[in-house]
């Protein structure tokens, strides 16, 4: 097996290396990928057409918004997939277990530190979600940070405390609602007579002109992504750290 694996890996590596000599130089601004009309269009027209200075956010949420919708669906699938694989709903230890151990979680110092920094982490996460138009960040990064803040709470105060805020039922509702916001916003465009995810259709219900409608819609879509990602990140951690029993975390 090892020999076979080594041979396969070497063949693959040799093929890939043989192609690198054919590539344009690294950092070449005139390489086909960098000077292609698609990339020039994104760089030159994005701010004019969508009023968003961060091109990555604009391309992510608008030009390739269809991709991002499925990216959110991928996260969602991972979340429900982990529950479907790990949880054992009909066993004796499903939801009937009460918290038998109040000592779980970190020590006093950890709790104190966490209670100090958690609000700031969460505010920063919300800032990242909301400010993705102008600075690096967006729904996904902010959502991961928000989810991580709950993971931190679970580590410091014990999973059962964190579960009181963010129960499994709630995570599933949050996750589904996030995608619902994203897809529903696209369907709204459909109902207004334009293509799916064509945010320009919504300029009559959003403040500003059609270009601002794109910008505002990106924010709404990013919020949807943040909902799903927050919920699923926390659900992923809580299931994986307890082998799907959802009691007694790390």
């Amino acid at each position: 097996m090892k020999i076979f694996g080594l041979i396969a890996v070497l063949v693959v590596g040799a093929l890939l290396l043989s192609a690198t000599s054919d590539f344009p130089d690294w950092r070449d601004k005139d390489s086909p990928a960098n000077k292609s009309p698609v990339s020039s269009f994104y760089i030159e027209k994005t701010e004019k057409l969508t009023k968003v200075p961060n091109m990555v956010t604009a391309v992510l949420a608008d030009y390739r918004g269809y991709d991002t919708m499925f990216e959110t669906v991928v996260i969602f699938i991972a979340g429900i997939g982990i529950i479907a694989v790990l949880r054992n709903f009909d066993g004796p230890n499903s939801s009937s277990i009460k918290r038998e151990n109040n000592d779980e979680g970190g020590g006093l110092l950890a709790r104190f530190t966490c209670s100090l920094i958690l609000p700031f982490i969460q505010i920063f996460a919300l800032y990242v979600v909301a400010h993705g138009h102008h600075s690096p960040g967006g729904g996904f990064q902010g959502g991961v940070m928000l989810g991580a803040s709950y993971i931190l709470a679970a580590l410091a105060f014990g999973l059962s405390k964190a579960k009181d805020i963010f129960s499994e039922r709630r995570t599933m509702i949050f996750a589904a609602v996030g995608i619902f916001i994203y897809v529903g916003w696209g369907v709204l465009c459909l109902l207004f007579g334009k293509e799916f995810l064509n945010y320009e259709a919504l300029d009559s219900i959003l403040p500003g002109d059609a270009k601002m409608a794109r910008s505002h819609s990106m924010l709404i879509v990013e919020i949807g992504v943040a909902f799903t990602v927050t919920a699923i990140m926390f659900s992923m951690y809580s299931n994986l750290s307890t082998r799907g029993r959802l009691s007694k975390g790390l």
């Binding site: 990555v56 990064q141 991961v144 993971i151 951690y237 750290s241 082998r243």
Partner: protein, 81 residues
């Protein structure tokens, strides 16, 4: 866009990848994998891909490592290879 940094980080990356795969202690391997993610996040920030670097910092060095460690704690810590 300083290529010297680029080369140094890339070499560290290869070292980190090899170490994390050689360690027999899975907890240590996950930790080194976190370091690997952090290095690659630095690299992307250096290459101007700030959004990707941000995401990798949150996901690769953060959540991926955490869920990996969570799995190591709820299974076995030693590995045979």
């Amino acid at each position: 866009m300083i290529w010297q940094f680029d080369i140094i980080i890339l070499i560290f990356l290869v070292i980190a990848a090899i170490i994390s795969l050689r360690l027999k202690d899975l907890l240590g391997a996950s930790m080194v994998f976190g370091i690997y993610s952090f290095l690659i996040c630095l690299l992307w920030a250096e290459m101007g891909a700030v959004d990707v670097a941000f995401t990798e910092a949150a996901v690769g060095a953060g959540v991926s490592t955490v869920i990996m460690i969570a799995t190591v704690f709820s299974t076995k810590r030693r590995s045979k290879d």
